[in-house]
């Protein structure tokens, strides 16, 4: 019996000195050179390609950000007249004369935020926090209509709330305005007041009452009024201009007056 080991040895022996065709490799050095060349260049090429791709990717992102940033940056400046501005998402603004409004239409998706210089009325659709940024402070709202006026020096801020409510945050403090309220902000603080119509109409109302109204609206003190207690007044009382108000009321009654700062003396 021949064991498998022995058989294997026999096959080894059988093939040992036999030369097979297609065993001899020609141009072995040539193939080695090709391999070497490829391994040397491939490594370098790959790093270069990888680096080029990285640079390209970074450049594309940077360009997209820059272009996107510029394109989405809205800068609206009104001329000598007021101007209606449509804001993203259905909100709107009426920009006062000589005012400007800035916002980013892409950034809007993340935060409804406008920067204001001057005066504007905002009509805000319900939704996320709406913020008006001024140099004096931020006004934040949720669906309302309100007015913001910043004086030219950027030191005083006047806010009027027509609908809903607004929240005011300034360096001097915070305040919430409800419908029909207004506020004047300065470094000293926020003064809240009721919004008055431009004119108050009176028909045969006691002059005493009109004088009290003038005192509260304009924060003045009228002296010598007692002698005119019996008089009445019919007409329009301006709420925005003290001089006009005094001329209209006392002029129509034939009363002479003297205005001295916050003091008015009736003669």
């Amino acid at each position: 019996m021949i064991s498998i080991m022995e058989e294997n040895d026999a096959i080894y022996a059988l093939l040992k000195n036999v030369v097979l065709k297609n065993e001899k490799m020609d141009r072995k050095e040539e193939l080695w050179d090709s391999i070497r060349k490829e391994t040397l260049t491939a490594g370098r090429k790959k790093t270069v390609i990888r680096r080029v791709w990285w640079i390209a990717a970074v450049a594309v992102v940077a360009i997209a950000l820059v272009i996107g940033g510029f394109a989405s940056q809205k800068n609206i400046v009104s001329g000598g007249d007021k101007m209606a501005v449509a804001l993203p998402g259905g909100s709107a603004s009426e920009l006062g004369a000589n005012s400007s409004l800035h916002y980013n239409s892409i950034g809007w998706a993340f935060a409804r935020k406008v920067a204001l210089e001057g005066t504007a009325i905002f009509e805000v659709t319900k939704g996320r926090k709406f913020t008006v940024h001024t140099s004096e402070g931020d006004i934040t709202v949720l669906g309302t209509k309100f007015l913001v006026t910043e004086d030219r020096q950027g030191t005083a801020l006047h806010i009027e709330c027509y609908e809903g409510s607004v929240r005011i945050d300034t360096k001097a403090g915070s305040e919430v305005l409800k419908k029909g309220e207004k506020a004047d902000c300065s470094n000293e603080g926020i003064i809240k007041a009721e919004i008055l119509p431009e004119f108050i109409t009176y028909d045969g109302v006691a002059l005493k009452e009109i004088i009290e109204k003038i005192e509260t609206v304009y924060d003045v003190n009228v002296s010598g009024k007692e002698k005119y207690d019996s008089m009445t007044f019919s007409g329009l009382l301006p709420t925005g201009n003290l001089k006009d108000a005094l001329d209209i009321v006392f002029g129509s009654c034939g009363i002479d007056f003297e205005l001295n700062g916050k003091d008015i003396t009736l003669k």
């Binding site: 000195n17 065709k21 065993e23 391999i35």
Partner: protein
């Protein structure tokens, strides 16, 4: 004639560090063995050379992510075989419209009688008998015989290269030997060589 693919080690650490000499040694160790093996499978010199090149380029470039193979010879041969078959399949797909081409190859082993006679003082008759016997084997038997006895791979290594179980390779080897012995022309020579072999290994 030296066995081409003795299981000589490669200093894998040095190879991974990109040592030129080790890489060259690696190539020298396997290039010819792979060439002979590839020619039996593909029969096209350019295809075989391209696959050897792409294999060594791959090994070099990926050296850091390839853990030192347990069995380097098996690893190299199996990688090469896969690469070669893949190339052949894609080439034949490009060439023919039929699409799927089963990857059957004849693995013909041709004895170079002229060269063999020059190498030793053997006789033509025996070599012709050997050729006839080899032709009688199935392609798989020829491939096993070739890897095991011509390239010196072990049963386990051969099994790994061919993707077969070791037991299957043992059986295929055994059947191949039986077939070789059943060949009448060869059996005389076979026995003669068996004697010589036994002489050599026993003494």
């Amino acid at each position: 004639m030296e066995r081409k693919t003795a299981d000589k080690g490669i200093d894998w650490k040095r190879f991974q560090n990109g040592d030129e000499n080790v890489f060259r040694h690696f190539y020298d160790l396997y290039a010819e063995g792979l060439y002979g093996y590839g020619m039996k499978i593909a029969g096209n010199e350019e295809t075989v050379r391209e696959c050897i090149q792409s294999l060594f380029v791959y090994l070099y470039e990926k050296r850091n992510s390839i853990a030192c193979p347990n069995n380097l010879s098996a690893y190299v041969f199996v990688s090469f075989r896969n690469r070669l078959i893949k190339t052949m399949v894609s080439d034949s797909k490009n060439a023919s419209v039929s699409g799927s081409v089963p990857m059957n190859y004849d693995f013909e082993i041709t004895v170079d009688i002229q060269e063999s006679l020059a190498a030793e003082d053997g006789d033509t008759e025996r070599l012709q008998a050997l050729q006839a016997a080899l032709d009688e084997l199935s392609p798989q038997q020829r491939e096993v015989v070739y890897l095991r006895f011509y390239n010196g791979l072990s049963i386990d290594q051969t099994a790994e290269v061919l993707g077969l179980a070791s037991q299957t390779v043992s059986n295929v080897t055994h059947n191949a030997i039986l077939k070789l012995r059943r060949n009448k022309l060869l059996s005389k020579a076979f026995l003669l060589f068996l004697m010589l072999a036994l002489d050599r290994f026993i003494i």
